[in-house]
Symmetry: D3
């Protein structure tokens, strides 16, 4: 039984260490993408993970595929064609200086995909779970339609569907997002969001919270989850709760709302010292999916998801290179980072 993830895989060009973009004459080059990050994290957990996308022919597209095969992700359903691999420039923030992301992903092989590129019946053979995010429909109406097509097929086949809202202000406006995402939400069983997404996409604001000022009121997020459920009838709503102190130090926790008993389960809160925070939300999603497909209780799921994404903050690159055993150790309380030898 496989988990199918659909989305764009991108080249990430990061200035080394804490240097500003182009301060030195090199970039750290890795592959990533909100959905590819989920696929890799699941593969690292030992899950049969299949990633579906479109990349150009030639060494850049092949490099993207190889970077997934490295972790054991199944890549046989990745289509080749189009002109270029989308990319973005990343500058890591420090102290009071925020991280910076500059997208250069328009006209990519993925963004130019068409409906006929993907045969969802074939793709979903043996699948038990389908995951996508709000980044994809933001890339254009063609991708939005492909997402809808995928959701319809998944629903027909009885496959559970999760979606991470992942609002990106550089890709679309809140009103465009709302219009597009509302239709997709009809098919979604598990809705994943960060502390800003619900407000940005659906206008559901957490009371007493000001994300830019580093103020998060956890209890108000229970209300956000309830309202999301009320509006779209999700089975589960999971929200990450990041309190930003500086670009180096954040607090991190997660919440999982179950529609069955209308209550929320909160994870521990971690004081994280950040190595690389990009992809943390995606690793949270992967942790959730791992918990669900292994039939964990809700509290155990949110603990696993929060711990796995806590660890992501200590990993270079977007991909969450941690094993189930490592996540379990943290859930079990070993959070002081002592050396084992």
């Amino acid at each position: 039984m496989t988990v199918v993830t659909f989305g764009e895989i991108l080249l990430r060009l990061a200035s080394p260490g804490y240097t500003r973009l182009l301060q030195n004459s090199s970039f750290d080059a890795t592959f990533c993408g909100g959905e590819a990050n989920v696929a890799v994290s699941l593969a690292e957990f030992g899950v049969e993970s299949k990633f579906v996308s479109r990349v150009p022919n030639g060494p850049i597209g092949q490099g993207a595929i190889n970077s997934l095969r490295y972790f054991g992700v199944q890549t046989s359903e990745i289509v080749r064609g189009g002109d270029r691999l989308g990319l973005f420039y990343l500058e890591k923030g420090a102290s009071q200086r925020p991280s910076k992301v500059i997208y250069d992903r328009a006209y990519s092989s993925f963004a130019n995909s068409v409906l006929s590129d993907f045969d969802w019946k074939e793709i979903f053979k043996d699948a038990e779970w389908f995951h996508f995010t709000g980044i994809s429909p933001a890339l254009g109406v063609n991708i939005n339609d492909i997402c809808l097509e995928a959701c319809k097929n998944a629903k027909e086949l009885g496959i559970t569907i999760s979606c991470d809202l992942n609002y990106r202000s550089n890709l679309w406006s809140p009103s465009d997002a709302k219009k597009s995402m509302e239709k997709l939400m009809e098919y979604v069983d598990v809705c994943i969001a960060n502390e800003e997404d619900a407000e940005n996409v659906f206008g559901i604001k957490a009371a007493d919270s000001d994300v830019n000022m580093g103020e998060i009121n956890n209890s108000s997020y229970l209300e956000v989850a309830k309202e999301l459920h009320d509006r779209f009838n999700f089975k589960y709503v999971a929200i990450t709760l990041r309190t930003s102190i500086t670009a180096n130090d954040n607090n991190w926790a997660g919440m999982l709302f179950g529609s069955a008993d209308q209550t929320s389960n909160f994870s521990n809160s971690y004081n994280v010292h950040i190595v690389d925070r990009v992809g943390a939300g995606d690793s949270f999603g992967a942790g959730l999916i791992y918990g669900f497909i292994n039939d964990m209780p809700l509290q155990e799921i949110i603990d696993f998801a929060a711990a796995s994404s806590c660890l992501k903050h200590s990993i270079e690159g977007d991909f969450n290179r941690v094993t189930v055993e490592e996540v379990r150790n943290l859930v079990n309380g070993n959070r002081t980072g002592r050396v084992s030898r």
Copy 2:
């Protein structure tokens, strides 16, 4: 009196050393472009060099401008706007393995320029020379029209015009190139080409030469120059003569044909051991322009141009970081690379 160069400035993402693309997780990132290379080389020679282009707002475009200012190139006429900086991936060849260039330059700020972006009257104030290349018209009809507009203005103002044919098979077909370039050639005083361009663009083939097999018949290039002159009435035709042995070792020379006496001047031939050959043709062009604006005799011009571009093969990156004194030393016969201390 300034030399004005017009063209695209690109980000070059090169895999380090002799590694294949994406073999390791970093790229060497430098700025370049056939015309920018000429502008920088001239600035290194102490010439007032002004570069005209269009780059996006933000740190990537600014980095491109800064990389030119570093050498003292005048950048005040570079327009800002559009969506992205064009880029390409470069893999350096070795032995029997050829270098590889993968363009990702469509939809760039420069390629999307329009006629009204550039005020040529203003740009050409104080100018004595205008240089452009065949890469620009290959980027689209809008750029082709801008080139025409620039040429017309330059001609009116009595500015000498040089053009490097610079045929790029990844950008357009020979027939498209021919159609476009023929019109532009009407305005050109100094035509620069490599050992393949004349054939690719205008179908003028050098007899007894097979470039891919590493066979160059120098004398036949005299005929090529004559035919180019006969067809377009150029004042001067300069051709680089590269004999490829392997990706590491080439022979390199240059030829300059003068219409006045209908004869060709040949430079020495250099056995070059290649550090980085990209930009060698551009450094040849810069050497020529330097010679012309300093009123050197034709033999001295071709010697200077061939020596400066010979040295380029020993420099990392596209830009030819050599001084007039260094070129003169080589022209004067110090070609054995002894240490001076």
Copy 3:
């Protein structure tokens, strides 16, 4: 209208990361200098910034000039001559281990400058502000005389003069500093100092503060400013207030005293996690000058200067690579370093 800065530009040889000097076999090599840092920061803010200095002929001196041109600093008044570029070795501290600076700047091209090297009438054409620091007179009586000459010319031309006391115990004694600086202070309009300078140079000690123990009493610095003003009749006195916790963590704030209303304006205090703190004081000076030449109110000036120098702590190298927009974002309260995408 340009801001003219005069001083030495140095080569900084820093051991990589947190390694000790010569622990590995490479140095990070960048250019810097208290006054060059100011010139670059102003250029990054879009100010017409002219740097005046003396560097040796050849690639090392040229490299220094190029590093300034990169940012758009005007370098046409930099004189060439002398034997060597001054340099220093830098080892970055961590935790309880302090940073270490080893000067090797004696006999430099700049330190051997003579009065006739600089034509201040020409240099100050179009200038509205002149900035220098206490490092220059510490390099020898010849430089001291050049500073005096520059100040006299500036005063005659009605140019505002700022001076950062910048006491360096490795260059001269407090008594020598006092003797020299007292004469120069007659010309200075804006006096800039850190939390130790006033005591070291003029014996004006802040009560209840022990800088080495990390104790700073802000209110006592108001008295320091007043006493500086009383003694030298400065129009403005600005002081940086650094509380050292460890080599990695400092608190940072600034104070600006105006003689008109005899009161001090304090900035926010920032808890900075240090990437590279060298040059922070210089970036504070540049922020002040930017505020003054843009006619900001005093509170806005000190907020801008403190924020811009807060950001400097997050930047590798001496130069403060931040834009006005980035400083404004921090002044406006975005201090939690969230990613924008």
Copy 4:
């Protein structure tokens, strides 16, 4: 139909560039091994390639597996267990200084394998070819027995067997090699050797050749092949012919002897400028296997194998990262390394 390769995968710790071992404080770390190299090269050619081995649990063993998955090699039959991954230190030679290999591979997970670790019936399902080398039996009698077992199973299933003699003087003596290899040769269809192996293992010396002095008499190798065939009844014998000039420059060619018509086919000879020559022999083997399973004529096979291994000399690391298309281009005569753009 898959090609199965059996052998050890090792960690290669190479001093960077041309530095001597431990001259600087880092190693380039890649995975390799005579047989793994063949498996990767075949996967790069698009062949279904399955690698069989034994690696330790934990991140080092997993890293080895990941490095194979990256290229699409099937790793499901790699067994986990034992204490350590074998490794070797590599120092790249230059000019008259030879490369140096220091093995640290005793007691490895692979060397401690036992017969029951591998279920050859299962492994050979869908296989058409089995490849191993003389390195494996050199690691101990247990591995020798496993090789025998594999050969017997392959023979029973009608699978073609190739063996690269790959004599390693640091692992065993010629007499031990002879004793062990003679038994294994009974099962082998295609024997692969370099210019020294036949002499080292079976005492069959090429006349008029002195490998250490850089003298190779091609025609005498035809006799070597014949004698090998006469003694072991191989269907095909392939020999690589390396003429060493310096550590940087070698001549390289290959020969393929067919028992059917008792004649040898020689490839072109290439003057290679070496980037990394380790693994060249293995890439020759992979080229041969690719030719045989695609039913090429013998001349085409040896041309393909020689060209693919010629290209290997230009690739960093043991793995031959070249595509069929790239090999074909070289076979077709593009050997001058010109840039394509």
Copy 5:
């Protein structure tokens, strides 16, 4: 008068920065080992420091010796022989992710040493102190016997003996450790331990402390020291007290118990921001030995040892590259890391 240290010197292969093992294709390679670290730190303090060990012939063993000579450690008594240098892989932890050490040290030249390899009478000529650790007897009964032989010889010659318990769970079980160490303790004058060793080796647990949860009750360690003294009649017992907050932040202090007055001296506690914590305990031991051989009072000794090992946390690599002057500066209260220039 020399200090003799006996133990294994190892190659440490660390993944760069905070990357996971094999995430990138290089290792930082340095030499280290609990006892070698002590020898180097003492040499940095200006002590005549002799290291005794066994390494293989060839460049890897020679590199280990060279790395000690670099600091002035006497290496004339290091024996050459055996097959390999022991090594380990190190992954530096961050935030909630712990550091990871993977040993590959079995069958090393040192582990295969025999009694006759070392002539202790000769080695101890001019010695005043002998130091070893619990790592050595954990490597096998042969090394255990060599330690015993060394202790007997040292005792006979009136040389003071110190031992760091250094329990390593990856090398032996608590019960094996107890059995072996109890015999060796008879000879030991100064026992050094970390906050876990006494419990792991001798079952002496500190009350109210949970090391994995980051809880340390200092006063209870006075009881641990007393009990150690009561059982083995040590003259002095020194214990390091590490409170782990995250992998980046620890509190660090030391305690020294003197049997003469049965009281404990505690050092300051330092909040350390970790650069590299491996070897901190060894640098504590070196600090102690330096204090003892310079006849410092006990409080001064523990202050010196705690400060020197506090600084170790800020140094890359195992070796504590700090001078006596730097340690004294910290002891004297300069702990805020201000730049001196």
Copy 6:
């Protein structure tokens, strides 16, 4: 019995790879110096090698000493004092571009040495050989006097004296060199020179040779040696014969003239592909000294010296990191750089 070498040890700041000075923002930093290179090479050969010099206090001077101790060079007679370590910038040439050395060594600790800094009676205890070069007297009259003092002491003690002429045009004029060196030559037993030194210092020109054009007439150097011997009564004259083809490719040989039989012994000539040629002459000197103190016949000495310095061209940095065994292998004819494994 030790070999004593006297001279300056310098910091060498080399731009990485083939980049131009300051093209990127780092320098490779190593220690070197004509005489230190000899001392290290001898230590690598197992000779008791003592280096005498003067370096500043602090980490830079200590780093220089450590770099020598690493190889086992005795450093106890290195004096500490003065202000700075001399340094130079190095840019490696390629193809037709020559290497570039920019000295910054004036006012160094060594250059400011005085006679009383060195107690030659003490230094020469146990010495059998004294080596110095023409670089030292070029640094000033004080160093010239120290060299004279050292020579007189050595002569009195019956120690053999060798001197490498090592003319440096950036340090003094031919006439100054002649005046100074003529006096020193009275004491010298073994004179070492390169193909230019005899002409530059003593006006003895090799007929039919033009070093800058890459033309060397070996036989004429026999005459040079004879004339040197006639003028100064050297026991032996050794000359290196470098034919420069490009900065990458040189031919290299050596000649040793013995006064006893008035004949010259020539070594093989090597075609070297250069990794780093700086220090090649010094490694030749070290090879000679090794041969003499081991009482080799003259032909064997010159073969050893030429082979050891041939290998130097393949080693990064000034120091010749090769063993006697490696030199012997090359002398014995293994010059094709085959891998041994």
